[in-house]
């Protein structure tokens, strides 16, 4: 959420006064249902009117060996009565369902933060699997945190006893017990979760009952257990939000809805060709449930067939869409070139993940920017749009459809694993607030003397869209260079020069049809601009806000149209003394900015598979002010270890 509200530094829980925001991380074995727990906790948080952001972090293995360090699945949520735009840096509360979950997550916990641990899982065997020499619950090694350890496993088994489940099945209700306790802690209504359980297990009412009993038992435990010390009930007031109807939304949902909305605004049926790949598959799954909007989905035999079928659909007059992640996008490259050459509309969604090669399938990264802008053979320009948050992905998907249809071009929409999986509250938009951009098809010959000119360009350099089946307009298109206007095969040197120039000019011209670059926070000139794109929006925004609160002259610019760049961006950047570009890659957008505008953009890079922490960007901002002679601000002690690339670049 980008609305500006008062400062929300996530201070540790004081246990007496309700904080403005709290970060909770649920961590357990990948079979423990932590993503489900987190998802339901998110829903209850949203219903309580808090602003929130989440970060699901799970292993690539579906069921990694139980109890192992690499099998830990975690879900972090930052919520509060103020503006929240990241999943939070360090958790205030860590729920650790086993030793491995404790080990892999506890170091992130704030000093003084609260650990809730299930002692029932801290067995000798599990401690060994987590490579603990002694039991951390007992050996005092957790003394810098508050520790609340009790046998959640046994309490759950006890709670679900009346339902006659086996031990294994009973233990599956542990996550609901934990959720019940969390709901109590944050003063939440249980009813929405009860409703959800009843509908999820409608066919197995005994399982629903058992889960509800576990949920209630966890809640009652908080209510009645006489625990002195760390466990306290906290109530966070609802955030001040624009009035209206809200829901939570993940990036994958937002992309799916935005594509459907885009196709509707274009007055087109949508064809989606996809191939299963993490983390993009959710879009395919979502769209299969939206067929009444003229959506046809096709699970192709491979990534190449997925995009080729989508291009075939666009050729036939539908809006072709394909989606993948980095490795799949690489496979689609040649077909993208054909879409550029034949000048057909197409939307390509890339849910980026860590690379190269298979890389980090379930972790987030922004390292496909070069691939998006440059990654094809030949001079093959296409517009690229990057979503900054889950809800922004909706707007970006519509924008991608609009540009594709209006400019007869493939458009790439970049999201990433973080945006795809993360959830945030979303003010449900009114479809009537969007201007339609109806697609036009040629129905009559457009040339002199009753001729057809399939490649005759209009004032924007755009050729007509001609559907097969239209009487009298038979023509041939393909990937070979083509003559001006007629589109006939033509290898002539002047033709290739002219058509290459025309394709470039057309895509460059998209910059005239997109909004000018704005400043998200701060001024249109000054000492430092922090320039981001994509999912780094949240941490950059919060870091800049904090720095500004400390008096630093720093502004935040976040670029949606990463190709072609907004036409005022160069002048805007040149109005700042310094430019810092935080990215989850080794400096790709920084290079693009330097190349396009000859500005001294400095990189801040992170490729750990984890999103930026606010503090990391804050420290980098502080370091910049530290290096400016007439330092205004810079009170924050810069953490230079965060700035390896800056150092290297400065040498």
């Amino acid at each position: 959420m980008a609305s500006s509200v008062a400062a929300a530094d996530t201070a540790p829980i004081t246990h007496t006064d309700a904080p403005e925001a709290v970060v909770v991380r649920f961590a357990g074995d990948s079979g423990d249902g932590m993503q489900l727990t987190g998802g339901q906790f998110t829903l209850s948080t949203a219903l309580a009117g808090n602003d929130l952001a989440t970060f699901p972090d799970f292993p690539a293995e579906i069921r990694a060996p139980q109890g192992t360090l690499f099998g830990v699945s975690a879900f972090q949520i930052n919520f509060g009565s103020t503006d929240i735009s990241t999943a939070g840096d360090a958790p205030d509360v860590l729920v650790a369902m086993n030793p491995a979950a404790l080990k892999t997550n506890v170091e992130a916990l704030k000093p003084g933060g609260l650990i809730i641990a299930d002692t029932g899982e801290f067995t000798k065997r599990n401690l060994e699997k987590a490579k603990y020499d002694s039991n951390p619950i007992e050996d005092g090694s957790l003394s810098k945190w508050d520790l609340l350890a009790f046998d959640i496993s046994a309490l759950t088994i006890e709670a679900v006893k009346p339902f006659g489940l086996g031990n294994k099945e009973a233990l599956r209700c542990k996550n609901m017990w934990t959720l019940g306790l969390a709901l109590w802690m944050f003063d939440r209504d249980r009813q929405p979760i009860v409703d959800w359980l009843n509908s999820k297990f409608a066919k197995k009412p005994e399982i629903a009952e058992a889960n509800i009993a576990a949920l209630n038992a966890g809640h009652a435990y908080g209510e009645t257990a006489e625990i002195a010390g760390p466990l306290r009930k906290l109530h966070l007031d609802p955030v001040q939000q624009t009035p209206g109807l809200y829901r939570t939304i993940t990036g994958a949902e937002a992309v799916s809805l935005g594509l459907v909305a885009g196709a509707q605004l274009a007055g087109l049926q949508m064809f989606f060709g996809g191939y299963p790949i993490t983390p993009a598959s959710a879009i395919l799954h979502n769209l299969t449930k939206m067929k009444e909007f003229g959506v046809t989905t096709f699970q192709a035999e491979d990534e190449i067939a997925a995009i080729c079928s989508a291009i075939g659909a666009s050729y036939a007059g539908h809006l072709g869409v394909t989606s993948s992640s980095g490795p799949g996008i690489a496979l689609k490259g040649e077909a993208m070139g054909l879409a550029v050459m034949t000048e057909l509309p197409l939307v390509i969604v890339n849910s980026q993940r860590g690379g190269p090669s298979t890389g980090l399938p379930t972790k987030t990264e922004q390292s496909d920017l070069y691939q998006a802008i440059y990654g094809r053979n030949g001079d093959t320009p296409l517009p690229v749009i990057a979503a900054r948050s889950p809800s922004d992905a909706f707007e970006c998907a519509i924008e991608a459809c609009r540009i594709a249809v209006q400019f007869m071009t493939p458009v790439m929409l970049l999201t990433d694993g973080y945006i795809g999986n993360a959830a945030e509250p979303w003010k449900v938009p009114d479809p009537n607030d969007y201007d339609p951009f109806p697609a036009k098809f040629l129905t009559e010959k457009n040339g002199p003397d009753d001729t057809l000119l399939p490649y005759k360009r209009d004032g924007h350099g755009v050729r007509p869209w001609i559907k097969p089946g239209t009487p009298g307009l038979m023509h041939r298109i393909g990937g070979i260079e083509k003559a001006i206007d007629t589109g006939n095969l033509d290898y002539a040197p002047t033709t290739h020069q002219a058509q290459t120039d025309a394709r470039k000019a057309k895509v460059d011209g998209v910059a005239n049809a997109v909004p000018l670059q704005d400043v998200s926070l701060g001024n249109t000139s000054g000492k430092l601009a922090v320039v981001g794109w994509g999912s780094t929006f949240g941490p950059i925004h919060q870091a800049v806000r904090r720095a500004r609160a400390k008096g630093m002259d720093v502004s935040h610019i976040h670029v949606r149209h990463v190709w072609p760049l907004p036409r005022n961006l160069g002048d805007l950047l040149r109005s700042y003394k310094k430019i810092l570009v935080p990215e989850m890659n080794t400096g790709q957008f920084k290079t693009v900015l330097r190349d396009q505008f000859l500005v001294d953009a400095q990189p801040l890079n992170k490729v750990s598979g984890q999103p930026f922490a606010i503090a990391e960007i804050e420290a980098a901002i502080a370091a910049f002010f530290d290096n400016i002679p007439d330092n205004e601000g810079g009170e924050v002690e810069p953490n230079r270890s965060q700035l390896p690339s800056v150092k290297a670049e400065n040498q």
Partner: protein
Amino acid sequence: MNEMTTITTTLKDWETDQEVRWCPGCGDYAILKAVQRTLPEIGADPANTVFVSGIGCSSRFPYYVESYGFHTIHGRAPAFATGIKLSNPELDVWLITGDGDGMSIGGNHTMHVIRRNLNCQIMLFNNEIYGLTKGQYSPTSRVGTSSPSTPMGSVDRPALPCAFALGSGARFIARAYDVSKDLSGVLKAAHAHKGAAFIEIFQNCIVYNKDRFDDFTAKANAAGNQLWLTNGEPMLFNKGTQGIALDQESLTLKVVDVIDGDWQSAGVIVHDVTNRSVAHMLVEMPFGPFPMALGVIYDDPRPTYEESVLGQDAKAREGKVADLGKLLAKGQTWTVGE
């Protein structure tokens, strides 16, 4: 085969103003003419006809047919065709591919378009060589094929396109060759078949693999080495003096002599286009000891892919109103008051 308005055209109507750029004497010319002759005969409508091709000599085909045409990328024509048919099932789609395009780089897509049973005609021009890239051996080249990339002769065994297609679940298999007068009949049968119709057409690459199929296409060799199959007719060749029978002991095919036209007592099989087992044997018959099986080898339709997909889509839409506002507000929502 598509439900479309039958319209009257002539061969001339299917010719484009483009200069044909195949080598003089190339087998592709004959195939092009056969197609242009056949289209009027089946009442095809140029506005409703789409030729989709990959890359290779054969894939230039769409430029020369006055219909809609899409010259795509190497091996991927089936995927484009799938998107086209799912978006507009009324279009009559012809896939043009070659042995390199369809059996090598695009083998995967060939398999899946056949398996799914997309309603289209797949014409695979088999010249057993890479022509456009100047003569390298192809996946259908015979062992020992000497080429720029295999100067000592190729060592890998050739793929059999029709066997591959059957193995992929094809419901229509036919074979013909470029200059055959019966090619048009095969094309008509393929067009009449509802579903993926796979046609292997032996095509003479006069520059890089000249007369490769002379063993059965040359005039002198035709009668003795061509087995033209007709549904309901005995499998006879060599002017009715020889036929194909089943060896009851080994359960394999054998060539038998037919005396005085008495094919019954020789045990010659009557061709049944719906007999899948015999189809497998016919496409696997080793040439030499056996003649080349030509014509419609197998034809037994099943529901098409686009019928099933679009049927399911229609079912999913039944009774539903496309209300975008409602869709956006789906799930658990809450209202923030003024």
